[in-house]
Symmetry: C2
Subunit: 321 residues, 2 copies
């Protein structure tokens, strides 16, 4: 009901409680109650005795109705669970994903304004204050578990494209799961899945975008390696628009991936790669491997040419400074 009222408030500069009550078939008191609810969400609504209600401004929140208004995807983001704060959107998403039996739909989003225990890869902390975009996408692709790298890189390509479209900022993909601007981290991706030997039960893609965060607010130890879109462009970005653009891009690439058409995505991934052509050291858990990043293959693995000339394939790892 609040959503319906919002629709009319957005259409007209002024609309009276009486008219709203008539259109929606509810009492004027009920209209008033819904207006209070919207105000509590952060909508600024004035009321003039003669002219009626007027929507002055919308909150800068990733509210489902804000995201879904004008969202042109087929299924990504058609269902959104929104929280002012969560420990971690991935944790909540994984709990929901488990109950596929209860018909969680493909492309459902879990969004939080901030995370109290945001996570990066390998259990690392991810700083997630208000102003960023913290979300998880729940998917049930009929793909092999080995697609996990491809899913992560596909998400990265969609992020780079969405950032470019909304802010004109060029960003780059640091294999396997980060997006950088000027060598500094602006987005991170944490893909988690439940699998059998040769079947994915569910995938949860956690995405963190440092949107409107001041660099001075970052913890000291990550300040020099982190950046935000606001910091880079010198102005706040519309988080809603950026998210909508990302979801649209993501759906486009994900559709390709589901058809196993990764080649064209890979081409873009290589084009935007921050990693290729560099001499790097990669921590693969058991050891650190040195070499030149010469390619990313059709599985999303990094091909490293070691100093002895041998080329090896790395499924995942951390590129060290």
């Amino acid at each position: 009901m609040a959503n319906d009222i919002l629709k009319y408030l957005k259409e007209k500069k002024y609309i009276s409680g009486e008219v709203l009550a008539r259109i929606l078939g509810i009492s004027r008191v009920a209209v008033w109650k819904q207006i209070q609810k919207l105000k509590n969400m952060g909508y600024k609504i004035t009321s003039d005795q003669n002219l009626g209600y007027c929507l002055v401004s919308r909150p800068d929140l990733l509210l489902p109705q804000e995201i879904q208004r004008g969202l042109s995807t087929e299924y990504i983001g058609k269902e959104i669970d929104y929280f002012p704060e969560l420990k971690s959107t991935n944790t909540t998403a994984k709990e929901k994903a488990l109950y596929k039996a209860e018909r969680i739909d493909e492309g459902k989003l879990i969004i939080a304004e901030r995370q109290s225990a945001g996570k990066g890869r390998l259990g690392r902390e991810w700083f997630s204050p208000a102003g960023g975009i913290w979300l998880s996408i729940i998917l049930y692709p009929q793909l092999f578990p080995s697609y996990i790298s491809r899913i992560t890189l596909t998400t990265a390509v969609a992020l780079v494209q969405a950032i470019k479209a909304c802010t004109q900022i060029e960003s780059q993909i640091k294999w396997p799961n980060d997006v950088l601007i000027n060598e500094k981290k602006v987005c991170g991706i944490l893909t988690e899945m439940s699998t059998e030997l040769d079947m994915i039960n569910w995938v949860v893609i956690g995405i963190g975008i440092n949107a409107n965060i001041n660099i001075c607010d970052f913890p000291e130890d990550i300040q020099k390696n982190s950046t935000s879109l606001k910091e880079t462009s010198g102005k706040e970005v519309s988080r809603v628009k950026l998210l909508q653009t990302f979801l649209k891009e993501f759906e486009k690439y994900y559709e390709k991936l589901k058809k196993k058409e990764f080649s064209s995505i890979l081409k873009e991934c290589k084009f935007f790669s921050h990693t290729l052509g560099k001499k790097i050291r990669v921590d693969i858990g058991e050891k650190i491997i040195k070499g030149e990043a010469i390619d990313i293959n059709e599985s999303g693995a990094l091909i490293l040419k070691k100093e002895d000339g041998e080329s090896i394939e790395i499924i995942s790892g951390t590129i060290l400074k």
Copy 2:
């Protein structure tokens, strides 16, 4: 308390309620209540006015106290959740595994006397009536997600060894996840895991053993390809002893796997393999591949030599008749 009483009942032929009450520091009425509880679980206990209680027989149930009595593992099976019936032990185990935060211990078991919706690989049904052994093991190994095949094969080797030790029956491993006796399925393994790019969050190994099931009770469509230990040996097996033996074997091999010492397990896996040396057709989801199974490699993948002479590596698939 019921467990303590059981301990004394097992130690002595007769023990009076009075003595039990004194040893345990409870009232005779409390002793009587615990005896009733044990009777309800299926323990046959007689009481003689002069001599006291006598344990006549134990139920043929996989009760935690039965399994843990004499179980010589370090940590596998130290915690057991037991259910007369579950939809699927893996489903329950996955729910528990998700909440690692709540300190589910490595090696916890979920056991059910029967499953109403037992599952095999790729969502296939698994017939799970009373008399079989249906369990899931929850683990948190620090291994790469690509270890899923190795974990499954390791479990298979432990099953073959346990069956041999308890029943003298020789069984074989049908790659990637079944155990056969005389070409017929006697055990199935369903490994599921939650992963990141290069980290396992949790593993749930679902194990089904057709122990004391009459072949005529199997659904018609799987009768000709299924067997049970009872059917093969002509007599009932002690499910408790078999399970204890399996858990001990499993822990031994799993310890090796965690130290990344798969070679020796692989050697046994090949020795017990039903698949190697055979000309087979493998359904890998997208297509069916024909060839000779010539090897299982260090990752647990099957090496198939195709008719054109090319050898390919298959991570997982279904071997067709």
